[in-house]
């Protein structure tokens, strides 16, 4: 049988459904792998093998008696530790919430429980989804499976690392300024920030209410669509929830891209910021692959990155400080240094500036959505640079804002981070596919076609060769 560690969700699901793979054996294999390797990667903040085996036993009993629930039944996963799982602490990787035991499941957790997925544990995050990587927290930061001396992106750092390392076939992350797509790109996996409101945020610790998204990280595009399909859905108790039908995000996978109009937002990574040459080469090669597959490629312009970034950060830090003010008053010393400084950026933002940022947001979003009259999908950079060293504080700070992900938190657009090759040093490169609201199925179609044409999906971190 294929190495269980790198089974895709789709492969595992078929084996589980047809009873060729036992959920218990599958969970045991991944538990053993995590026990062997996670000491070097710190992807898990709270590893829960007992819960995993209990879930796996239940899944096995149900499948054996003909009660297969669907494509995630018996499939292991992990949750970023700002997402509630009843009875376990939701720490946000912070001393401040070390004892914050969740009373109930987040909606996304409820949905995965209902789908019969197997819970492996809580995954590392940058503190409160904003400050990291930090070495002054109660738990160490996650590291990049492609080279553990390097940053694995964030803030859904453990979600990216665990998925890339073959610890789980999927993980759930959150994204306020790029925090699903950054670890996806840094770790060479697929990350989807869907349309704002597509996945309920209820039971997820907020960073910034109006920018927060929940979404999946997986090793393939098809897997990502399957997980998104399971977790998406209207939630009347989430004020930002989108009241739209969510089925069908897998419906276009396998269709070709001939005739699709692809708009390359090149100025983001060549003019507004100059990306690393290897990153540019990776994106341009990907664009050529899409053209070779029959897409009509053209260049498209939008507002400068700096405008989107100022809008995103003004809103994010203002909303975040509102959430954190009481803790900043009573326990400032209990934050990691990086978190404290980033959250403090919102302390003295003028009310007029916050309101104006939301007014600018409406204009930026409206103008960006209008561009999709002329294109079907936009392509642009995710990160400007491959992962830097995790112990190089200056490089971490330098690369923190060198990204083109925050614009799509501002616009609420779906944005899919897809691997786009590797640097000479063996670190992942990546790009984003972006669409109009509700176009997740189309993004998955394009991502899947690209993935099938390139084969990056078959490459895994080298440390696995030690086994």
């Amino acid at each position: 049988m294929t190495d269980l560690a790198f089974l895709t969700v789709t492969e595992a699901s078929e084996l589980l459904r047809s009873r060729k793979l036992s959920p218990i054996e599958y969970a045991q294999a991944l538990i053993a792998r995590i026990e062997k390797h996670d000491g070097a990667l710190n992807a898990f903040l709270r590893f829960t093998p007992d819960i995993a085996l209990e879930d796996a036993r239940r899944a096995e009993a149900e499948i054996m008696r003909g009660g297969w629930r669907g494509p995630l039944h018996g499939v292991p996963y992990g949750l970023k530790d700002i997402i509630d799982y009843a009875g376990l602490p939701t720490t946000a990787h912070s001393k401040i919430l070390a004892d914050n035991v969740a009373k109930s499941d987040a909606v996304v957790t409820q949905k995965l429980r209902a789908a019969g997925a197997v819970f492996m544990g809580k995954l590392s995050t940058h503190e409160f989804a904003i400050g990291g990587p930090c070495f002054d927290l109660p738990w160490p930061p996650a590291r990049n499976p492609w080279n553990r001396d390097h940053f694995c992106g964030g803030s859904s750092s453990g979600s990216g690392a665990a998925t890339a390392a073959g610890f789980v076939p999927f993980a759930i992350g959150t994204d306020t300024g790029g925090s699903i797509r950054n670890p996806a790109t840094m770790c060479g996996v697929v990350g989807m920030k869907g349309t704002y409101g597509l996945v309920s945020r209820r039971g997820v610790l907020p960073l910034a209410f109006s920018l927060d998204h929940v979404g999946p990280l997986t090793r393939t595009v098809r897997d990502n669509a399957r997980v998104l399909e399971a977790i998406a859905g209207y939630d009347a108790l989430d004020p930002g929830s989108a009241n739209v039908r969510t089925g069908g995000v897998t419906s276009q996978i396998g269709s070709d891209v001939r005739g699709l109009r692809i708009g390359v937002i090149r100025h983001f990574y060549t003019r507004d910021m100059e990306a690393d040459p290897e990153m540019i080469a990776g994106i341009e090669a990907a664009v050529k692959v899409l053209a070779d597959l029959g897409a009509e490629v053209r260049e498209t312009d939008t507002a400068p990155l700096a405008q989107y970034a100022a809008c995103n950060r003004t809103i994010m830090t203002s909303e975040a400080f509102a959430i954190h003010e009481a803790w900043m008053q009573s326990r400032p010393q209990d934050y990691g240094s990086l978190t404290r400084e980033r959250i403090m950026t919102g302390a003295f933002v003028r009310a007029a500036d916050y309101v104006n940022a939301t007014r600018v947001r409406a204009k930026l979003a409206s103008a960006f959505h209008a561009q999709f009259a002329d294109i079907d999908v936009a392509v642009t950079a995710s990160a400007m640079d491959p992962a830097c060293r995790i112990d190089d504080a200056k490089a971490i700070e330098y690369t923190y804002g060198r990204q083109a992900r925050a614009p799509f938190n501002v616009t609420g657009s779906p944005a899919l981070a897809v691997p786009a090759g590797y640097s000479k040093a063996g670190l992942p490169l990546g790009m984003q596919l972006v669409g109009k609201p509700g176009s997740e199925a189309l993004l998955y179609r394009v991502g899947h076609a690209y993935e099938q044409a390139t084969g990056w999906v078959n490459k895994h971190p080298a440390f696995t060769k030690q086994e």
Binding site: T195, Y196, G197, S210, L211, P239, G240, A242, V244, A303, A306, Q307, A309, A310, C311, R313, T314, T317, E325, M328, Q329, S330, R331, P332, Q333, S337, R340, E341, R342, M344, T345, G346, A347, F348, V349, R350, D353, V355, N356, A357, T358, R359, V360, R361, A362, K363, A365, G412, P437, G438
Partner: protein, 63 residues
């Protein structure tokens, strides 16, 4: 043009909003953070806004 905010000003502003437990290192962080936020303001394209441009207080996409 606004002057560059000073540590003493930040210290006073912090007291005003109840950030009374900040150490000197924390105040230095708050100073840098406040300067960053003020610099960011210049990148917001507010000159293009008209009085009719409404805020997205609770952002909700129409689809």
């Amino acid at each position: 043009m606004a002057h560059d905010i000073t540590l003493d000003e930040v210290r006073r502003m912090a007291q005003d909003i109840g950030l009374a437990r900040l150490t000197e290192d924390h105040l230095q962080q708050l100073l840098r953070a406040t300067r960053t936020a003020r610099a960011r303001r210049a990148s917001l394209p507010t000159a293009d806004l008209t009085p009719a441009d409404e805020p997205a207080h609770v952002f909700h996409l129409d689809r």
